[in-house]
């Protein structure tokens, strides 16, 4: 297990290194000099040069890349070109909205999908199964930001149970904060729950046909006992993969949903940064998102190896 973890850990580091290179050099080819953009078209050349030196833009590419990565490793993401504040602080503030939102949505999605998938699998081919499958077919087709607008229309504008947008912050207690994240989380969660329920159902159906399930029944377990004790555990492998993948979709999806609800998360930060050509913020946020995706997938791989020893020998 340790060997497997080390091997995967090594490739995790390689992936992160390559990803950081790609992001840095892609941003690097962007036209326009941040310093002249910040100072406007009437700036004197020597003022621009002074600012370039201050921002470290006069150094070589490789040097700047190493400084960027070295800084990130120590939690220093550099200075925002437009706000003149540390990028790390800006990202940390926004992260307190985006990350809880994605986790909240992931929890909701799992809570909806598991019962729905198990129920559909247990009633394969019957009306209940058809109803769940029909609902998931629709759930997959609904764009989450549109669903979010419908939720606002119904629950914020007509019923007035929730605010139509904005974030209360964590200072007034967890309850208030979660209340303002509830509609966004539901909007993010439902389409993902539809996918997860389908995966859960088909994974369970695969397992139900296995010999060991027949053995479990033959030794006297009821259908329900066999399903809970042996079926679910084995069905968890594909389900875990999808949950891991979904986390990255939820984090990226949160960027769009934040626009619907005017939430001050990473999404708003990155769009503001794009429009003000604050490229260091853009590259840092993108790096954080990619870091999250790669790391979560690494953790999912480790989780598999714990659940299923057979996977440790493969790569």
């Amino acid at each position: 297990m340790l060997r497997y973890a080390l091997k995967r850990g090594f490739s995790l580091i390689i992936s992160l290194a390559v990803a950081s290179l790609v992001i840095f050099f892609v941003i690097e080819i962007a036209p326009g000099d941040p310093a002249s953009f910040m100072l406007g078209i009437n700036a004197e050349p020597d003022t621009v040069a002074a600012l370039r030196a201050e921002l470290g833009l006069d150094q070589g590419k490789l040097q700047r890349y190493l400084a960027w990565v070295g800084g990130m490793l120590q939690g220093d993401f550099g200075m925002s070109y437009t706000y003149r504040t540390p990028v790390a602080g800006m990202i940390a503030d926004r992260m307190w909205v985006s990350l809880p939102l994605a986790l909240y949505a992931l929890t909701l999605s799992t809570l909806i999908a598991f019962p729905a998938g198990i129920y559909a699998a247990a009633r394969r081919g019957k009306a209940g199964d058809m109803a769940v499958m029909g609902a998931t077919q629709l759930g997959v087709a609904v764009p989450n930001f549109w669903f979010a607008m419908i939720l606002v229309l119904v629950f914020a504008i007509n019923l007035r149970w929730f605010g139509a947008g904005g974030f209360a912050g964590w200072d007034d207690g967890i309850g208030t904060a979660l209340h303002s994240l509830t509609l966004p989380a539901i909007a993010l969660a439902l389409p993902q729950a539809a996918i997860l329920a389908r995966v859960m159902r088909s994974a369970l159906l695969d397992i139900l046909g296995e010999d060991f399930m027949r053995t479990a029944r033959a030794k006297g377990l009821t259908r329900r006992q066999a399903l809970w004790r042996h079926g679910l555990r084995n069905a968890m492998i594909p389900v875990l993969t999808i949950i891991g993948l979904q986390f990255s979709f939820l984090l990226a999806g949160a960027i769009i949903i934040e626009q619907v609800f005017f939430l001050p998360g990473l999404g708003r930060l990155v769009f503001q940064a794009i429009s003000s050509r604050d490229l260091i913020v853009v590259e840092s946020v993108v790096m954080i998102l990619v870091f999250a995706v790669i790391t979560v997938n690494f953790l999912v791989d480790l989780a598999y190896a714990l659940v299923d020893p057979r996977l440790r020998s493969r790569t």
């Binding site: 390689i14 992936s15 390559v18 990803a19 790609v22 992001i23 892609v26 941003i27 080819i29 962007a30 036209p31 077919q137 629709l138 997959v140 087709a141 609904v142 764009p143 930001f145 549109w146 607008m149 419908i150 606002v152 229309l153 504008i157 088909s202 695969d206 990255s248 979709f249 990226a252 999806g253 960027i255 769009i256 626009q259 619907v260 999404g267 990155v270 769009f271 940064a273 794009i274 490229l279 853009v282 993108v286 998102l289 990619v290 995706v293 790669i294 997938n297």
Partner: protein, 270 residues
Amino acid sequence: MTRNLILGTGLSSLVVLAALVSFIWTPFDHTAMDIPAKLQQPNGTHWLGTDHFGRDIFSMIMVGARTSIAVALVAVGIGMGLGVPLGLAAAANKGSWLDEIIMRANDLVFAFPSLVIAILITAIFGAGAINAIAAIGIFNIPVFARITRGAALSLWEREFILAARVAGKGAARISGEHILPNIANLLIVQGTIQFSLGILAEAGLSYVGLGAQPPTPSWGRMLADAQTMVSFAPHLALIPGSAIVITVLGLNLMGDGLRDWLDPKLRLAR
């Protein structure tokens, strides 16, 4: 399960038809503003009502279908055009450094969700339909590469491939003449799925302003425009959203139906 196929093909054809017809006819000019007639509910003249500039929503939906389909179709084309050859090459050279590089590069692209790619591209080149296509297309490459490699690997073990090798055909020729025709069904089904995901992605990108720019109508931007008016003109949000749902639902049903129809074994295997 031909029911899925019929329903899915029906819905998808409807959307494609609307897009095609929009080239020669729309009830109104989709860019023509008529402020006195703004924010009308659906009625006899304006079948789906009008927006805040008095533009005819039905016409905008028809032309918007064009944008959605064009973006998603080209993005699938990019994904297939680059992903399939890469997957074939990786499978033909299984275990070699080429295979390893292709698969690792794929893993890397997977770490950049299409939205993140779009953000990077827009940060550099600015927003626009072409960049949306590139973002969705790049994300499609590893999807097709992976599925092609997986399917091709199992074919390489088969006797008819061995026979072809004995006959003296090289790896490239075998991939083209024997592997590709045998995985075409799989690719068509995956293409349908990626097409529907592309429609959703395009809508999302143009909603946040990274997709097609005005005056090109797109369903995502119609939704973005509708957002501040949803309390007094809900039809502005309901109609483009329904158009997206119908299109995606149709394509997904068609994909499911095609899979069952083309390969009953696949259904049992799932």
